[in-house]
Structure formats: structure tokens, C-alpha cells
Subunit: 183 residues, 2 copies
């Protein structure tokens, strides 16, 4: 397998097709990572959650990292890592446009009934359903993709041919789209 | 969908079947999360990587968080979150037993040729292949699982019946095992 970088435009392209990612936040020196659903739009990842450890930590320290991937096989995959900043979208007149956009995007992606809004029983009692809308402002994106070496089982010399690399990302994107749209 | 906690023993049981997780580390207030492969054994997650941002950050701050899951469907899934501590396993006589164990476990799980050891081309030049063995000492585990409400589309009153919950985790474990062993 050969691992190479993914171009910025391809990373954004991938983000528009992905829904599930992992979001990491930190309190002091302790990081915390959980799965979350998001909808990408114009430099932001929109999401929502109920108030829990993740929201409390991000309110206190807005620096986050998001990782999302699509794994076609263990030899063929794309992984995107984003450094960004947490922005809460409370129900205020000033943020009505952003909050309505979040609602619209999440509804389009069918994210309404996902974990963030599901009934949760912790230690025998129900967690209150207070939806918190938020978005992650993307500061930096890096993407990597893995692809099989052209001859199976033989360690070829690296040939960072741009055309070949681009073709490889395109084939993963094609496989990814086929997979997503068949759902 | 109903989200409930997973018992400690079930979480450990799941970990023995999983290989792919996401590991979060932090530098100052900035978290960082990437996918990684691991092998669980007796309170530790064993893994290896080449020297990069993840290893550098964990050397400076050993507090990490690992998340791993198995998603049968968007309505049926298990997610495990681990708080732990990074321990590097350098090639020294004092750590020979632990390092040999890491090698054995990773080989058993077929993790050798996975991303951590793959040829990586970054900005046109090959990343040096210096394998770093490490393990994560597990300090705390929490697990959650989602399962469909018993009547589709109807919001049932919560019934945190232990037997029902246990049955549900078991059914996910069964589905998970069937999936893993069919590979």
C-alpha cells in the first residue's frame, strides 16, 4: 500500500459526501473523542447534540479536531483531518440565519434521528433532550489516501506521479459516491 | 433508537474483536485525532506507527483518548471510549517482553502491513520507516450502544430493563462476531 496526500479540493469534495466523523476536544491535557454526524457547507461543519461532556468541554475550549474517512478496503481508503473552532448556535435573533442553515443541512442529510437526538438512558434515568446546534469553523484540512501498490505483494519504488495519484483519488471518490448513493 | 450504556465486561469483549479505532492526543489546548490499528490485551491497547505528529505529541503529553466502534446499521451500533496513557516500547532489554508481546499481537491481527507501516509519500518524498511500538494503558472505559425502539416509529417510554439491555448488547456482539469471522 502507498499512502499519499489528498488535494485540498478533493478533501472538501469528500466532506460534502460524508456524514459520520469523529470529533476530538480537550480539557486541560486530556483529549476526548466521540463519533458525531455533520453536514459540510462553505467552510463549516454543522452539527447538533444534547448537552453532555463534549459540549461542556468545547464551550470551555473551542479548539477541536475532526477526523472523517471512507474505507473502501484496508488497502484503499481516504482520511480527512480538520483543525477547527467550535461555535455554538444558540436560538437568538443574531444567529437565526446560521441556525436555520444548520437545521436545513442536517435535515437534508437525514441526521435528525441520529444519536445526538436519540433517547438516552444513563444509569437508569433519561438524559434531557436539549438540542444544541453548533458548527466547526475549519481552520486547516489535511487528507491522506491509501491505495494498493500497482503490483500486489511487491514493494515498488515510490513513484509520486501526480497523474497517477490524481487518478487514484478519483477512483476512490467514484467508489465512495457509488457506495453513498446506493444507500 | 434507544441509547444505553454497555457493561464493562462487554466493552472489553468488544475491544478484543476490534482492530480499527481513532486515537486523540493533545498539544496545549489543541486536540488531534487520527485512525489507528490496535490489538487489545489485558488492560492495554498495543499498536505501532512511524514517527509523526501523533507520536511527537504523545511523547510530550501521554494523556490520550481512544474511540472504537462497530456499526451494524445507523440504528444498531456500539461505541467504546477509552481514557488512557501512552507508553512507548523502545527496543531495550527492560521492555523486551512487552515489545515482543506487541509484535506477536499485532502480527496475529494482521496489522503489519496497515497504514502505520505503509510507504508514505508526503510532498514528493518518502517518510522514513522507523517503527515505534507503543501501548495505551487503559485508565477508564465507557461504552454506549444504540438499538432500535421495539416498535418502529413509536417513541416508547424508557424501560431500562437489565435483561432486555443485556440481550440487545448480546445481539450486537453476535452480529459483530458473524461479520468479523466471515472476513
Amino acid at each position: 500500500m502507498l499512502i499519499q496526500e489528498v488535494a485540498y479540493e478533493d478533501s472538501l469534495n469528500l466532506l460534502t459526501h460524508l456524514r459520520l466523523g469523529r470529533i476530538a476536544c480537550a480539557e486541560g491535557a486530556q483529549p476526548y473523542v466521540v463519533p458525531f454526524y455533520f453536514a459540510y457547507d462553505d467552510g463549516y461543519l454543522y452539527s447538533f447534540s444534547t448537552v453532555g461532556q463534549k459540549i461542556k468541554w468545547m464551550r470551555a475550549n473551542p479548539l477541536v479536531c475532526v477526523q472523517a474517512d471512507e474505507i473502501v478496503s484496508s488497502q484503499e481508503w481516504v482520511s480527512i483531518v480538520i483543525f477547527g473552532r467550535y461555535e455554538e448556535l444558540p436560538d437568538t435573533p443574531e444567529l437565526k440565519v446560521e441556525r436555520d442553515l444548520a437545521y436545513k443541512l442536517l435535515k437534508q442529510k437525514g441526521i435528525w434521528w441520529e444519536p445526538g437526538f436519540a433517547k438516552t438512558i444513563i444509569k437508569g434515568s433519561e438524559r434531557p433532550l436539549l438540542p444544541v446546534y453548533f458548527r466547526i469553523q475549519i481552520a486547516r484540512i489535511t487528507g491522506h489516501h491509501g491505495a494498493p501498490d500497482s503490483v500486489e505483494g511487491v514493494n515498488l519504488e515510490p513513484s509520486p506521479n501526480e497523474q497517477a495519484s490524481k487518478h487514484s483519488v478519483q477512483s476512490i471518490l467514484t467508489a465512495l459516491r457509488a457506495k453513498l448513493f446506493s444507500k
